[in-house]
Symmetry: C2
Subunit: 95 residues, 2 copies
């Protein structure tokens, strides 16, 4: 699935509810889902991890839609490799 | 950009450093970037929002790579609309 496609999908599916709920509440939901993803990563099953990762992506898209920013354009900063050193692989010191 | 493409890009660019840093530290970085995104949404410029959204996507991909889960497969749960009610738009009560 394309990032642009994901964003349109989220707009079609949840756009009206997103706007009714508003940005701060949507941001809170995103944070909640990131926490659930963290728990799934720490002690969940693969199925849990898949589900929570999907929820994080969905809520990230919802927030991106509400602020009118393109996920595709955001990811493009990485398209040639590390945005800092330009390397692919990254050649920055440290991890 | 495709979600699968994003994941490969992150593996090529940061995979070695990701494995050296390890999962808990990478999860902490993801949370840090989500916080920066929240600040950008609250009071940042459009450029800030684009940058931080890109960073969240990058770190999400890094963690997904380390746990061996596909972002594309994760997003697919939403491909027909709301995973709960099946609607596009969602017909679930409440927001």
């Amino acid at each position: 699935m394309d990032l642009a496609e994901l964003q349109i999908l989220m707009e079609d599916t949840f756009g009206a509810q997103d706007r009714q709920r508003g940005l701060p509440a949507s941001m809170a939901w995103l944070c909640e889902e990131v926490g659930e993803f963290a728990r799934a990563v720490r002690k969940g099953t693969r199925a849990d991890q898949l589900e929570e990762l999907g929820d994080v992506l969905a809520w990230l898209a919802s927030v991106a839609n509400q602020i009118g920013v393109s996920m595709d354009e955001a990811a493009a900063r990485y398209s040639a490799g590390c945005p800092k050193c330009g390397g692919r692989p990254c050649a920055c010191p440290g991890v």
